[in-house]
Symmetry: D2
Subunit: 440 residues, 4 copies
């Protein structure tokens, strides 16, 4: 961790601020206000370098960089669906229009592909009327896509051609990296072009922000699948309910839905290696559970157990967003479990549930809806203040600014030593360690 | 159709009735009361043979066959899950106990396997207290299984050994056939053993009954998947949402959910053949739709398009219930669509949703809950009256008795010439005919 | 009952049919097709006068009365909200536009008030695009109102002035009577003006039709209130959960929701008189229940127990729809129960729930959605065929035409001698009779 | 604020710790670990007295005070219902039993009344089996009540008689004050009796803790009522939907549900005074809204506008929990609005919705379910460690210990100067100030 209390000034276009906040707002925030990263202290006192680390506080600035009457802003949604995207779009439009008076708001169609001069996707004009009820629907009214970021220079060409001053990027890891590239190129070209990111990852695995939008809705929906898996498991002799949930690199959705429902017996996540075979392997423990109780529910994050699947060749494949293509652990586990029990001549009834699209296409639940609305507002405050190359996050329940580089530098993961994971183990009753020879 | 107003007497054990209905009930039904099969008439009059066909009316009989204080009844649930099974179980227990005073009620575990002397599944005593809240959960509290019906004689041995007088079978086609076998063997052995079926098929494809329990809950839940498919389809360039729904031999769930939501563009069902390729084939129409509107939602019943998949060898495979194993049209369609558009170099984004287990494990919705409660009550009335080898159904909104043989003789299917299917075509906008050379 | 197989010809404008059905539809229905009213038969045969009674069958006619290219139709929604109104509106618009090619469709604002020359409510043009997603929302996109029917002649003036040929009235008892008046006046004036009603009563109390739209959604939603009442009742010493549900003259909603949930101990409906005080009165039985079990759930239909409340003066008051204003039995019962237990010094905790508006504003559930869509289609078929002064209903699961006069002549009610009510009594465990001296 | 980093040691029974944590847990927390109260900093640095204020960190202690094998613990639920109570009960039982090995767990019936020697409510033994599915239901399996705290000495007598060592109190303000009294008396009597509170207030108005359980579920449910109010308001000429929500002293539920849905035009809360009449009064603004848009939705917290209602006499009335009885602002507002518009001869259609019991009886949503489970676990950690006279809370997303006195000393309220309230104003479009003469 190498960031400090002052290092966030760089997220700003280095020109003088030109105008006042247009409405009779209050509660302005100054660039000097910071939010502490670490809140743990000891009686003895532990004031050290780490305890000085801070985030810049988000919020409306008294002086803004752009003239609302003249600028044009654009919104882009990129990558897979996630509950709440439309809420963020709606909030950016409403805040830009009603609080700042921005008249020109473009919606880019289908992610960065929509900025690619080669495609025919025309941007749409976004108005408050158009987005009024957008938050009641799942998905994205703009459409999304992976990829389209092969030639960043020509994307910035398009933005120049469209006279865009602020680009709001609602997207995941790959999209934020592209957003950073846009910001860097814009600076080189000396453009008045701010790039503000709103991190969209249903997996909640963004570092330095406590929560990503849509995550709560996602694990809440996942609970329904676990209910079904449990009912199916109990409804058959040696019934096994196997649910694959999202989580490419982190098991937060799987772990949280297991905690919320308490009907899961095994949670398998990318952060915790496990053996399949052997006397301390997963299959042996599953067998024990079935012999003891007659049914079992398993919840596996899509990124778990990739070591069983990935060959060198597969490792190279990436999707259009640049994400490594994962082999399907759900299907692999389903087949492996069935094969194992066939080999020991124990009849089992496995039901496999993959609710992914039904989860990510859901509308935001009320708590996420509020969060999305605020994210959108703070994004607009940042954009209008001339910030750039940053995302809007939240830390210690306060909205913050963070440089994109920092956010994309590493992922947040479940810490297998944490109380959180310990609670999951306790809720499931699964062994803390399913490796033979205890090779931790 | 070869049944008439008098042909249902055979569903009765031919011994004298021995006791009075125990409670102060009213509204008794006599065996002479019938329900007309056909209600369509013409001004000219169309009284003919068909208009005389009737069902026996269900309901409590003043004189009952079994002495409630002495008998023992058993309940069995067999085959796949379906919303409402627990409601029917609960209702049979409550009605037997509270209205008739039956003290001995057994729950057979895991379907006919639980009557197989080779298994170790002990029956459970069912009491009103045990089943009090069962209807609030999906699945079956007794457990279910396919098969176990290889040796019907030994199953009847078990029933004799357990002193069972009435066996309530909540099951599908295969299970009802087994129930019929039990009744036949019981008659041969001269046992006082009634067999009363409650048809359980989520597909709603039972002949001579207007509705099976759980069907409404099922298509209502399927609507959620269609919502997701629609959101996904709209959220990507050339987005395709493909939902596979239940329906081995009939497309009622797929058709009803499409009617309820109106966001589906193609419904593919077993009753309507279609070509994949060719200028009037499905893929061509799908391509047209995408070129016109940029997205499409497809809903396919699991039994549709089996002609593309079934080879002679596969045809022979059956599952433990004796059902022919279907090849997976959902996965086949997904792959075929992707291959087709790759071949014509048109980029599409297909999202495949298979919600099956999430639908069938749901608790009954309120309307199904009432229906299940009544089915259970009428089953008990029939059983106590000494009826046998029959199921409880509904026709023209009145509960009826039907011989099992008649019910299992043929399936109910969507009639492609009906107004119902015409309405589906209209709701989706799909062509009535997707066969080349119009080979109807 | 004085209607017969031929008496429905009068629901037709007596002019020659002028054109063919415009689309390549099939399955046309002829005016000679009828649906039997009574399906009960006895072995001995019971063919008598009653068994000849029929309804006219609904459906598209090969020859239609109006020229789709020239006519103008109007839709009106009147009275209180009910789930599914928007679905019916949407279906009428879609069917008129896409199947018949009607180009002019007006939406009248706020019920008959919108046809009152004195108001400023301009009709809106309805297009398929406008109503595309209307069915996803509760309420009515046209707005509704009670009353406005004081001067029917001037309402017909307005319809003339607007060149309306078919008026679709989605409304309750009072509105249908007004619709009848429109039809009568139109006939007198010799106008080509059909009036087609779609009966809207959340209470399901329309005679000669088996089900009204929105009713299932309503009692399904009511189940949630009963759940809450039950939780509240169990959560306090001598807890009483009291739920007031809709049902001005009939207890169908209260009875069905009690059947669906099984947590209700007393259902009070307009059809069954009860005493409050005395040793067989409701309060005594409630007291017994509390002493025995410590909590109780009561479900009261708004029209129950009006005899305790209505004085001669109150009897005269009517709302704008002409409905008698009911005194509030819910509040009365709440206060009376509290007073009673205070008088006998028994501490109780009563929680009163009145979910009315939350139920009637709900969107239609999937089953109601399909029903509404079909009602709308059949209404259009009837209108285009030149029928008038009739409503679209359903009997023995087949859609029918019924003269408005017949429908408004009497209400459907719960029959206290029926098996249905008997099942409710059994589900609640309440006494069949809560009158002292058994004054039935 | 007069608490500091060291002042929480007093929440501990001052005896030596006697045993080790029984399981192979990890991640122990020491009493020296603290959580900072204030995370806001400035570039210039603002380290002052306030920035040293801390909470004690919650979590398992390596050394525990009580011997799990010998102690007896009791759980009590007191006051009104709130989503999640059963989850907390379940968690305390599971954690005590499985992680610590506690064998004796009592459930006190109906709050403090169940500890009153005069009542006949026997405690129930709580086992893991009994509470296994409790979290799937709303309400409290123990029952609750207000009051019963008149004679605290005799309540402690009962606890002594029952040999209770740890009393877990899940209750609101009044109950926590009673819990504090128990702790004080226990200390005087030199009992080994810890009192651990889990603050239960659906209003989320507890100071020094960032969130109370059930609050999110509550405002999420309230959104449904707002939906209904909006549908009703749009469905009638000059339609007004008026929703009364919980919030005796704070408007968090009303404000959050308005933020989540965006269909509310006026939020009235206890923290913001408003005039009814006059040119800047609420009624005038409501009238303007209706004239402009034809409908309006109002959301009022139960504690708002009490100044219009409270007379000196009423002020004295308190319910059994000692809470001041509020006059019903919902009914008052309904009548006042109707009267006002009658007086200006403007016809309006007001629909009043009071969903209170339907909200508070709901089961916890998944996010609250996790929170409740953790609260229960941390409560047990505190109890077993010999802490007393404290509650378990959360601050900066970390679980903390807080002395009961501090928590009950003042309430948390919506700050009308905050960005949060500003966002509400913006979402509703209501004036920031509805007082005449701007008497802020």
């Amino acid at each position: 961790m190498n960031f400090e209390i002052t290092n966030l000034g760089q997220c700003k276009i280095s020109s003088p601020l030109i105008t006042k906040f247009p409405s009779t707002d209050f509660g302005f925030v100054s660039d000097t206000e910071k939010i502490l990263y670490d809140v743990k202290r000891y009686d003895a006192g532990n004031e050290n370098e780490k305890s000085k680390i801070c985030f810049e506080k988000a919020g409306p600035r008294k002086m803004i960089f752009y003239d609302p009457a003249r600028i044009r802003v654009a919104i882009i949604t990129s990558g897979g669906l996630c509950p709440g995207i439309n809420n963020v779009i709606r909030s950016i439009v409403m805040e830009s229009h009603y609080r700042y008076g921005v008249q020109n708001i473009l919606g880019i169609r289908y992610g960065f592909m929509g900025l690619n001069p080669a495609t025919n996707y025309e941007p749409v004009e976004l108005t408050p009327h158009m987005v009024r009820d957008a938050h009641k629907m799942g998905g994205t009214i703009l459409g999304s896509s992976r990829g389209g970021t092969e030639d960043m220079e020509s994307i910035v060409d398009t933005l120049e051609r469209l006279y865009v001053n602020i680009l709001y990027v609602i997207g995941g890891d790959g999209s934020l990296r592209a957003a950073h590239d846009v910001a860097v190129i814009a600076e080189k070209r000396n453009l008045k072009l701010s790039v503000i990111g709103v991190p969209k990852t249903i997996d909640n695995d963004v570092s330095y922000i406590q929560r990503t939008f849509g995550f709560e809705t996602a694990f809440s929906r996942a609970v329904d699948s676990i209910y079904s898996a449990h009912v199916e498991a109990e409804g058959a002799p040696n019934g096994i309910g196997l649910v694959k949930l999202m989580g490419r690199y982190s098991g937060f959705i799987a772990a949280n839905s297991a905690l919320a429902m308490n009907d899961v017996n095994f949670v398998l996540i990318p952060e915790v290696l496990f053996d399949l075979y052997g006397e301390n392997g997963f299959l042996h423990h599953l067998e024990q559970r079935l012999r003891r109780r007659g049914h079992a529910v398993i919840c596996v994050a899509e990124g778990a157990g990739q070591n069983f699947l990935v060959t060198d060749q597969v490792k190279q494949e990436r999707d259009a967003s640049g994400n490594i293509k994962l082999a399907d652990i759900g299907v692999y586990l389903r087949d492996t479990i069935n094969k194992y029990f066939k080999s020991i001549e124990m009849a089992v009834n496995l039901k496999y549930i993959d609710p992914s699209y039904m989860i990510r296409s859901a509308p935001a639940n009320p708590n996420d809806a509020i969060f999305c609305a605020l994210l959108g507002q703070y994004a607009v405050h940042a954009g209008m203040a001339g910030k750039t190359d940053m995302i809007v996050g939240q830390w210690n329940n306060i909205f913050t600014h963070i440089p994109i580089k920092m956010v994309t530098s590493k992922r947040n993961q479940v810490n297998p030593q944490s109380r959180f994971w310990h609670n999951v183990l306790e809720a499931t009753g699964q062994p803390a360690n399913m490796l033979n020879h205890h090779q931790l």
